[in-house]
Symmetry: C2
Subunit: 129 residues, 2 copies
DNA sequence: TCCTTGTTGATAATGATTATCATTTACAAG
DNA sequence: CTTGTAAATGATAATCATTATCAACAAGGA
């Protein structure tokens, strides 16, 4: 028997409605005004669950905090090493035959792939001067 | 004035002498027998410093622990989502013109790129059955 | 209604990493 | 050699994101 609580739905909607690749804290802060009784633990719990169910994905840990993404299609990202801003990079898709060759080279049973670029975002470049 | 302490050198050598992409704890455990007075804090400090100096690189956080690599040349990795085992995947180099197109698309001043595959390593595949 | 099971909020616990601080070390100048 | 200075160290406390705990609650199904 599956249940999909209102909180879980709202957390999912929150992720779907942003392209900032937010942290758990960010989601919590965003929902708190409209969900006064929401607990941070509930956000963590539901993010973990949504991730396990494949409805959201994790973009890894940036500056100590895990970043989530409602967009589960394979796409590349650029991360600012200064402020942590993370943006999508369109147009980079890992071709299936590349996965095959990696499978062969490593023996791993692959389930995902990620391409990530690091650097300074435009705002942080300005601050450098 | 630069100083390159014996500890720092040994930590660097330790990373250069393995392909396991180890954690700070792993390096500490590896060095402790031959460096009885070594402190875990010293390992963390030197890893951070070596990373800032570009002598080693970080492969990101896997299962809550940062993974380091003495190999600074750009290469892809495969990570086991079960046990965290991380292996090199030879033959994947990000071409410079790809960096240029990402630079243009995002406005980021890029400094690095990483390609990472996730899945189950051979050992963990066996355990599944 | 009763029972089972998922969910929640509050909060304590965990654990990797970082900060602190007094002490020691390396090296250069006198 | 002695002294000054800045880096390095070991021990340990502090930080902080994430997890675990637990009692209370809610949603169905029988």
């Amino acid at each position: 028997m599956r249940r999909f609580s209102q909180n879980r739905q709202d957390i999912l909607d929150c992720l779907a409605g942003t392209d900032t690749h937010p942290t758990a804290e960010w989601v919590y802060a965003r929902l708190k005004p409209t969900h006064p009784s929401l607990s941070l633990a509930t956000v963590y719990r539901n993010l973990t669950q949504l991730k396990n169910d494949g409805l959201i994905s994790s973009m890894g840990v940036v500056q100590g905090q895990e970043r989530f993404d409602g967009n589960c299609t394979s796409h590349a990202h650029a991360v600012c090493v200064q402020c942590g801003r993370m943006v999508d990079v369109p147009g980079f898709i890992i071709p299936p035959d590349m996965l095959d060759s990696v499978r062969e080279a490593t023996g791993y049973k692959l389930s995902g792939a990620g391409l990530q670029f690091t650097g300074l975002c435009e705002e942080c470049q300005k601050k450098e001067s």
